[in-house]
Symmetry: C4
Subunit: 244 residues, 4 copies
């Protein structure tokens, strides 16, 4: 999200602040996001629909992004880092370390869930891993859902937090609300995940891998579509590749 | 909503940026709004009242408006464009292209819903089309509801995003919350729609036209009432036509 | 709420803008608030607790206040006007006209509810009038509840929108959230109303006056307590009457 | 939270404004927080999950913090004061008076709950005291839950309201949303409390002390962990103790 507050310029960051701290921030932010999200799924009340998981996953993004955006950009999601990299919004050297930190954060968050949750609930809900897809017939809509919703999410991230012409101080709120509404809209079809780190962490800890690949392939295709839309259609002059 | 950030002036926009891109933005914004709204209706949980559809339709406006307002104003609603045009807030030449783009966006969004939703649910809920009015006796309250709620929505749009004296950076949040509360308040009477593009898209895709005209006539009357109130009573000096 | 945006000074307001328009704004704002609130009560879904009425009443304050605060302050509540007058935040001559406009707005809002709601639901719920208190034993807690919650609400109004040292651009959001949480917290005890115009309008239209006085006495006592706390304890130097 | 608005400098505060008023603000803020929180628990509707208590506790923080942050910082929580003191964000002399004021505020808030609530509900729910832990087996997860969630909350407080590099005007919103999501995520395991004043007040008034110590020990450990993380890992140059 890379917003730099003019009143607090990062000055000369030393090596710790340039390379180590951002990765630690991504790890911490991803761990917080995955922990809080998995807890909301594992300990969800019966009969209240998708309201609780949607609000918890989505709204957690506001404090996480505001706390960490001036340190690492607070991506906390491999496809967010990939999309921002594809539209030229982050240093090449940091892409792989960020993604590794996010996946490790996901595992840490899921492990903390195991420590804090009721263990019977943890087992029933596979520790917050995505257990919605049970049969091959569900793959089509689930994949479509992940692709469309991830595209929508990443367009919002790129337009409100990276693209110069449309950047806004409301970016953390916009991204958070997009996650809330995406989960309420597509929750019964695929989750939706929109974030491989959120899928990977609990899959490792609960050792639940059924149709896990959908939560990598869907978000990655969404990432490509959103990057193409930004690069060729709606991005501003600094990003768009034609007609400028 | 036509707000121009003084730090990022649009400079000299070329023909793509002046005429093509705004229409693409309206199409994309309307498609996102209709897709996410229809999904929330088609896949709604039983027994949670109107909370999910209200939050999804309303809150989706924040990211859509913030992402696109510097490109096209992010109307994503024919009666919003018409009201802003009636109070002198947009170029004459763009009114018809905007409305065409919004209706096409509505169809695209409804088509994406068909691709991503569970097909049994899609059929039961007519793909998110408004199926509340079943008998002629319901027309009166439904029409009254659409008129009053659309008037309220368009007054908020015009006062917080166009009228100089009352314009605010909180405009996207105000408009979003108005949609949330309007749906919670009038959801059992008429939907409410307040947006012909939202009604038209799923009506085309699901081929469901019962009492469809109510969702054009109601919002249009609300549009006229709100424009008259702004032009003659509560608008500021740049808009109000008398006593200035 | 009286916040003046330095970029858009009201310049020289003419008599229409100084005396007539603010009263029309109070009437319109109160009508919108009472209409949307009563609709949310009359058409509430069964079994979803207080979430819908609380969100509708509270969140409606954000668009209403942002739309009208530069015109009239957007009090839309007699005890808000009284509290702001008691701490020196409004012109003496406008107090009575504001309160009359708010009460007329309440009646108009309740009448619109009668037009738009399902008439069976309208009768069952007394058109949104407060029908919680059925017996004399309930008066004590209900009155206590109204007093404490109105005090809390008016302290937030005065501290975030009037008091120089603590004024904030988040005032509309703070006031809205206070109404949301007050209704969730005290909804089963007294409503809570915290606004005589909200109680008066539907009482007139539905002709329902049982224990109506509680919704005048409670808010008025809360108004006095909050004004005393501001004037003598926590107000800033411009408002506090001692130790400055 | 200690944010000073440059437009309204506190000028020269007199002894009342420097020492007495901040403690009164902490007392009033804590009383409001505990009253509204306990009411939401005591009068909660059946079958709506954790949505109401989570929204009430969390969202109440926005108006309380915005109203009082320029007076006392609006900690309203002993471990918030302790964490801010540990990272060098408040005067040494005020730590003990703040904590005393917060605990007295908690008792006052719980006493007001007794006055306003239905007395049968008050007894059933122990006046809003935390009655979730019934057996020794529950202590482990409950303690883990309190520690992790308090750590998360205090990191958000320190990063968004104290740490220079990441401070934000959205701090009150971030802190409020963290409380909302923490309660939705961990509500069935330990409450969660994250605030000894919130636990202490109703425990005194309802005289309910079963496993009360968990709500002191958990938040205190979370406070230490978050302070260590800020001081040694993610804090900015003014706070971090190494590699700067």
């Amino acid at each position: 999200m890379e917003m730099v507050d003019p009143k607090h310029p990062p000055a000369k960051r030393n090596w710790y602040e340039r390379y180590v701290l951002p990765c630690l921030a991504e790890l911490l932010g991803s761990a917080a996001f995955v922990f809080i999200g998995c807890m909301s799924v594992v300990e969800d009340a019966v009969g209240t629909g998708l309201v609780q998981p949607a609000l918890v996953h989505g709204l957690s993004i506001v404090p996480i992004v505001v706390s960490l955006e001036n340190i690492s950009g607070a991506h906390t999601n491999p496809v967010v880092s990939l999309a921002i990299w594809l539209i030229g919004g982050m240093e090449h050297i940091m892409l792989i370390p960020y993604i590794v930190a996010q996946l490790c954060g996901g595992i840490l968050g899921a492990a903390l869930t195991k420590a804090a949750a009721n263990s019977a609930n943890f087992d029933t809900k596979f520790g917050g891993a995505f257990g919605i897809i049970k049969t091959n017939e569900q793959i089509g809509p689930a994949l479509g859902n992940e692709i469309i919703l991830t595209t929508f999410l990443l367009l919002v991230v790129c337009m409100t937090a990276v693209n110069v012409e449309t950047k806004s101080h409301l970016a953390p709120v916009c991204i958070a609300l997009t996650v809330v509404i995406n989960i309420m809209a597509g929750g019964t079809i695929s989750g939706p995940c929109m974030n491989p780190a959120r899928a990977f962490g609990p899959a490792v800890i609960a050792n639940y891998w059924l149709y896990h690949w959908v939560y990598w392939v869907g978000p990655l295709i969404g990432c490509l579509i959103s990057s193409i839309l930004i690069r060729f259609v709606i991005g501003g002059r600094a990003i768009r590749l034609f007609l400028k």
